[in-house]
Subunit: 558 residues, 2 copies
């Protein structure tokens, strides 16, 4: 049997006009700002008007540690959303926007897969509604204003060696990682070192995703630290007077984007911060708005549950006053096998023993998630080569962990294939069993927060950090930043900081290389290992094969 590719399925989608999707949610025409016939932004006025509504149930989709086998977190999010609608619930999904640059490197990111997709997928992988371009512009404006301030006399006494604010571009361009700027003489400013990150790594992105409204956005932008003086005192964005104009540039980007699934169910696709140096979830505005206009909101967090769900709980939920009613932990039989030591080439053969061994990874995530007080349902995202015995092994394991595993065939069958999952998730969400709480209080010291995550989530024995890092954390506490949550940046492939340690490692240490203050976003980034904030292109970039075919369709992007 042969399967259609994602793009083939997406092209066959029977999309409804976006206003019809808005109608399902009760959004009036004047408050739905169309971008073409299949995308729209929801107006800020409408968002304000629904604040008094009762909130729906919040369902977080997260996953085991990612493996090359693929888990299908977004696919499951979409499938579950369709499944809930299919069983008569008013549900919508909230996912992140895709970064433009990486599409031209490796095969592009899509919005789900198989028959569980969000459309229009081409647009979502290209410019979409321009949100990321707006973020790039706002970020670039601040960059230009900082160097302009220095050029015109540097009244704020910025130490040009200590400009923290790097530039951004939404492209994989390694040549820009480290550059010297303001060369060429007096008219071009004072030479200094600089560099570019990819747009999703911008603090502006994290802020857009955490801000409650435009006023909060402007305040947070003003709070960003852009440089230090020789005496190490911080220079803020508001000292540069850029936050007002940046807010103007971000005004439209703050409005969530409405699109639809292949089954014509509503989806917000909004925001997309890095899941390492930022918190990796879609925007608070989208999630909270969705909760006011739908009865069930299915959303996802980046990477595995040790990073994505941890940050979703400790950063996003804490700051936005959200509480998940149910967590869906996505696993696949293939990924269990890889965690159990099978090589990718051998995944096609049945291997129940390897599945059982690999379940250690699943088990630890279940335990961790329960530590937040939330009920966990395991979704086994079905793959065609899975055998009944393998699926049964996962189910038995989950049951033994006090959870439950439900096979879901949304990739193959769409919402119909996710009905069983949807029914159980709805039951759990309605049961009121969730007793959500972040795993550390605001008042805990920054270093203890790092230790709490490292020990309770990663199961490390210790956190290694030299005096310079500990002193830095103390200084920030003295400056009033001690109440912030920590945003861990480590490899997504393991509970540990070693990407090759699959399964459920113990006895390891978490070395902290660097800490960074994202004062506007409102977290302290804890860098454990190499974190790349500007990717490069591969030897043969996907871009070389991307083109319009004779029918005007995009080829090579997916």
């Amino acid at each position: 049997m042969s399967y259609k590719s994602d793009i083939e399925i997406a092209r066959e989608a029977q999309k409804k006009p976006i206003q019809e999707i808005g109608d399902k949610l009760g959004i009036p025409t004047e408050h739905l700002l169309p971008y073409g016939h299949d995308k729209a932004k929801v107006s800020q006025d409408y968002i304000n008007s629904v604040q008094g509504n009762k909130s729906g149930k919040l369902i977080l989709v997260t996953a085991i540690n990612p493996t090359p086998a693929g888990e299908g977190k977004t696919t499951t999010t979409v499938g579950l959303g369709d499944g809930l609608n299919r069983i008569g619930k008013k549900a919508m999904i909230c996912i992140r926007e895709a970064s433009l640059g990486p599409n031209f490197g490796m095969k592009g990111g899509a919005a789900g897969g198989g028959y569980a997709q969000v459309v229009p997928m081409e647009d979502m992988n290209l410019h979409f509604t321009g949100d990321f371009h707006a973020i790039t512009s706002a970020h670039s404006l601040l960059s230009a204003m900082i160097d302009n301030h220095i050029y015109w006399g540097n009244e704020l006494e910025i130490d040009v060696r200590r400009v923290q604010w790097r530039r951004v571009v939404d492209m994989n361009d390694r040549a820009l990682r480290q550059i010297n700027v303001s060369l060429g003489g007096v008219a071009n400013g004072f030479p200094r070192e600089g560099g570019f990150d990819i747009t999703v790594a911008s603090e502006v992105m994290a802020i857009l995703c955490l801000a409650k409204d435009l006023q909060d956005l402007e305040k947070r932008l003003g709070d960003m630290i852009v440089a230090y003086r020789r005496d190490r005192s911080p220079v803020f964005c508001r000292d540069i007077k850029a936050e007002g104009a940046m807010t103007v540039l971000l005004k439209d980007a703050m409005q969530p984007n409405l699109v639809q699934t292949l089954e014509n169910n509503p989806a917000f696709v909004h925001g997309g911060p890095f899941a390492n140096i930022a918190h990796g979830c879609n925007s608070v505005t989208a999630t909270t708005t969705a909760l006011k206009i739908a009865d069930y909101v299915v959303t996802e967090a980046g990477f595995g549950a040790d990073l994505g769900a941890e940050k979703f709980m400790n950063i996003k939920c804490r700051k936005a006053g959200l509480a998940p009613d149910c967590v869906v932990l996505v696993a696949t039989v293939r990924a269990m096998k890889m965690n159990g030591g099978v090589a990718k080439a051998d995944l096609g053969a049945e291997n129940v023993e390897a599945v059982k061994n690999g379940c250690a990874n699943l088990g630890r995530h279940i335990e961790n998630l329960k530590g937040f007080g939330v009920p966990v349902v395991v979704a086994v995202n079905h793959f065609v080569t899975d055998t009944d015995a393998e699926v049964a092994a996962v189910s038995e394991f989950a049951k033994a962990q006090g959870s439950e595993a439900i096979l879901s065939r949304h990739w193959e069958l769409g919402g119909e294939g996710a009905e069983a999952l949807a029914r159980r998730v709805a039951e759990v969400a309605e049961s009121g069993t969730s007793q959500f709480s972040p795993i550390y209080p605001d008042e805990m010291s920054l270093f203890e927060k790092i230790e709490t995550v490292a020990k309770r989530i990663y199961r490390a024995d210790e956190v290694l950090a030299d005096k310079k890092i500990r002193d830095q954390l103390k200084l920030w506490e003295e400056q009033g930043y001690g109440n912030l949550p920590v945003c861990m940046a480590k490899t997504q492939y393991s509970f540990s900081t070693d990407p090759n340690l699959r399964g459920a490692p113990t006895g390891h240490s978490v070395p902290v290389r660097e800490v960074r203050l994202s004062a506007g976003a409102g977290f302290v980034v804890v860098v454990c290992g190499e974190i790349m904030t500007m990717p490069g292109l591969p030897r043969t970039p996907a871009a070389e094969n991307i083109h319009l075919n004779e029918g005007g369709q995009i080829e090579g992007l997916f």
Copy 2:
């Protein structure tokens, strides 16, 4: 009497839903892709479908050399469009999109002024429909792919000292004018010199504005020269294999943007290439499409007629097979006075003698335009301090030149104030008197083309160019580029290359500093004097005062 500001007038606009504007032009709903309720793109399919229609009349609005007094070229374009509609003609206007970056430096550019404006002006000065962001992305992709090619072995043998392709950003950021890239070690590539221009200076922008369709766009992108080898042989964009993906990124941007005037008449706002190193007109797609769906199309060209109109005729019309039926030359009494030697502070006082003296500038533009075989109507854009005697002096002068001057009050009265101008322009356009022809043939040598423009338009005695430049031109002729038109880059403030020489100077020389080949856009840029392709911000950038007010309206942008 006090007047409302442009932004106050724009905010009071009674905008119609953009589909109603599309209906006037007969564009079906499915072919009008909305961006919000007041902007839309016209689909490529629809554009293809109207190619067989009869073409309307083309009216070019140009101006005398700009002075600090202001001339009001865009205002007159909008006013004339409204005036034509008011007298019962099916007319639309075609103007350029605004660059984002400069809005944050000085007071922002608007789309017309007074009661002759295009709306929504805030959007048009911010992200609009994302066209410029798409151009920045496409340009940036090629930049990244060039350095990536060098990084992975440089199979094309690019000389890293001879990479012609600079990077772009749509921001005034002088710190990026000259930079060193790929620093920081092996993983970041081979260090080399580089730099950023502002997006409107990108050859991609010029190509988008000259390309007939997506196929032509892709071909032209492939034709761009991005670098040279040590043996000076060119490396093309198509050698890098970037043109397909760039075309995908530009697919939507190629579709013209439909908006409306304050009087609800249709306007295409599309493209915006530099008027010095590029040709400075809106897109060929917009102009040719407008001609197929309206009976009168009013468009404008950048700077004064010596630059903008010359390029409109010799580059855009030649390449797109267009021919203007009437040219409107905009002048103001105040600008005549400045050309006659009056200082800006003294413009308020009547000075008929100065007006008469300043008319020399007007007279030469009339003569030049007639050299293209097109009839010229002078529009005197009325200002409140103008006296009857001053206006009469301009009228008499125009008559003596075999032209005519018509007072137009569109700034104050909208289309009603431009009725007289509209009636006369319609008469002239219908009269069939235009015998348009570019002023040099394709076959003329490149240097002779430069001489032709310098002598016939600038009235210079000679063109000064050293042997290196003449040899370069000859080399390009040998390589097959000899049939291209020349794109002059000189100051807009004077017929000469000295910005202080107002009026109608003679006896001057035109020194050629540099020549550049824009092989994809299809012209040879001839740089005469300092040309800034990356502006800086002023000491107190406008951005410092731009913000959202409590009502969510944008303040400080205009």
